[in-house]
């Protein structure tokens, strides 16, 4: 067994183990921590496949942003998960029946599993240029090949993704932003434009009398 295949089994095992942990952990905070472990293990798998850019992206975006957001939501909203789970056991017979049906169906599909040649080819070379990395070490690297395809062949999708993000932004602002009345705002122009005469009053104080009025 080479080191690469050993690493694969370690990462794959950790991914599955952490995945089970996400749904089995009683404490939701632990679930999120398991989720982070799963993300990092998957990032390791990506590195083994030679997709180091995707691996870093996964760590930065999913662990750095999404998982932390989950953690915030879970910890700050104080949802009573025990309350939510109440009465769940009543549905177990139905769930077992549905689960068995689904497993049988998936089994039938897997039994008849066969791919076309084009699918086989597409899987080996997810993007035309990424395939070259394996055969030609001087070819474009991960980020370059991703950039080449994202901003040329996939420009259409890239632009629509931008519009979708714009919608998300408009929605978030529209549904949550409330103009607050009666708050004092800082106005830099009026602060800078203030004259000495408006702010300072020169009073001549007679000795021994203090300031009057």
């Amino acid at each position: 067994m080479t080191f690469a295949s050993l690493a694969f089994y370690v990462f794959a095992g950790a991914t599955i183990g952490a995945g089970l942990g996400v749904i089995l952990a009683r404490n939701p905070v632990h679930s999120v921590l398991f989720l982070i472990t799963a993300f990092i293990s998957v990032a390791g798998l990506f590195v083994l496949m030679g997709a180091e850019y995707l691996a870093m992206l996964l760590v930065v975006v999913y662990v750095g942003a999404v998982a932390v957001l989950f953690l915030f939501v879970v910890m700050m909203l104080d949802v009573d998960f025990e309350e939510l789970k109440k009465g769940f056991a009543d549905y177990i017979p139905l769930a077992v029946i549905l689960g068995v049906v689904l497993i049988v169906e998936i089994g039938f599909t897997v039994a008849a599993w066969r791919f076309t040649d084009s699918a086989e080819l597409a899987r080996q070379h997810p993007s035309p240029t990424a395939g070259q990395v394996v055969t030609d070490p001087t070819g474009p690297n991960n980020v370059e090949s991703l950039g080449l395809i994202l901003y040329t062949d996939y420009i259409h999708f890239f632009q629509i993704a931008g519009m979708i993000l714009l919608v998300a932004m408009i929605g978030a602002i529209l549904l949550t932003f409330r103009e607050r009345v009666g708050i004092r705002k800082q106005d830099v122009t009026s602060q800078v434009g203030r004259k000495r005469a408006e702010g300072v009053e020169v009073v001549s104080v007679p000795t021994g009398k203090g300031i009057q009025g």
Partner: protein, 480 residues
Amino acid sequence: MTIWDNITFAFPEIFIAIALMILLLVGVFTSGKYGREIGWASIGVLAVALYPVLFGTAAQTADLFNGAFATDGFAKFSKVVIYTGAAVSILLSGHFMEREKINRFEYPILILLSTLGMSLMVSSTDLISLYMGIELQSLSLYILAAFNRDSLRSTEAGLKYFVLGALSSCLLLYGASLIYGFTGATTFDAIAAAGLTANTTGLILGLVFLISGLAFKVSAAPFHMWTPDVYEGSPTPVTAFFAAAPKFAGMALFARVMVEAFPTIIAQWQPILVIISILSMAIGAFSAITQTNIKRLMAYSSIGHMGYALMGVAAGTAQGVSSVLIYMSIYLIMTLGTFACILAMRRPEGMAENISDLAGLSRTQPALALMFTVFFFSLMGIPPLAGFFAKFYVFMAALDAGLFYLAIAGALASAVSAYYYLAVIIKIWVNEPAPEFDRNVGQSVKGIAALATLLMVIGIFTIVPMLTGYAETAAGALFR
């Protein structure tokens, strides 16, 4: 094809995108003071975008962006209907939004954004652009449903729509990934080519998920649960918009995916669509009987109508696709007209939404009563109103494709649905009058209701022959 060619052919979409961003900036920098003007400007944007669709580069047939986006007769027809539907929805909203004090400038901008999504949907010939078009459209719709954010019902409608919509997007995405896995392609023509040799079991599994996701978007049974609540909770002009253009876009996309990407396995997907169609017609007919709220009634009516339109898709022929386009175009006019009438149901204390509020309308407001009657007869499919021809063409398409039992089920469902439409009409003409409605509902609402009524009555001479000609050309584009 160079990138510049791609840009010229996608000009209507690019124009809408840039124009709406400019309008958004104008709205933000003027602190939303010019909401009404931005509404008018948005209608102008849609009108200008119609020009390249009809006469410009977008009217030609081309495959762009590596087969992700196509301009053809089908897309042209759909875009004309969608832009018109969206513009009419903006017109309908003005007065209502001002009365409810939610006339924010983001409303027309969100309508433009979802119109952009729909425009991309009907032109998409790739699973990725299909998904992204749907998401752009749906995300805007979720926000619109919750637009009246101080109303509990509106926010509930938005949340419900969002959660269920996200679930359906997951189904759709899962189906798309399975299809990609088994065919190695995302463009429709490559999927169709691979469909000849691919493992059909895996492909069908993916297809079933894809159909489920699309059926949710057009609110066909058994994925219709969200419709009544969202229709009832959303502000009425938003409901009018939901019932019109997005339904058309969803159904057009449905037809395009089925006949362009999966023509070789029609024997597998036809029964699925037949079942969805029969279920939708049945649920639409039977559940509507017990409704007391007019918006919920329209929701169930729309579920039923989606069932009829799916008959044409299930036929899977050029005739079927053209009948879907005719059906959805006429349905769009009927539903916008009906909602214009519903918008006229306003009392000083607020909107009247119960069917009982319509009692004796013929004595208090005969014109409105007449318009309601025409629309309901048209929705029922009574000749010589335009709604009859919509149904006539889908039934003919189903019969010619050999789906006799589907046509019989459709006829039975029509008979049942006639019952609840007639119940409302009887209430309007026979019962003792309920308190009168406020007559000040805005000129555009009255104008649209009157125009739609006129189109229903004289449709046999005007829109029906026109639509049949164009729809035939449009459907032919998918079978080249």
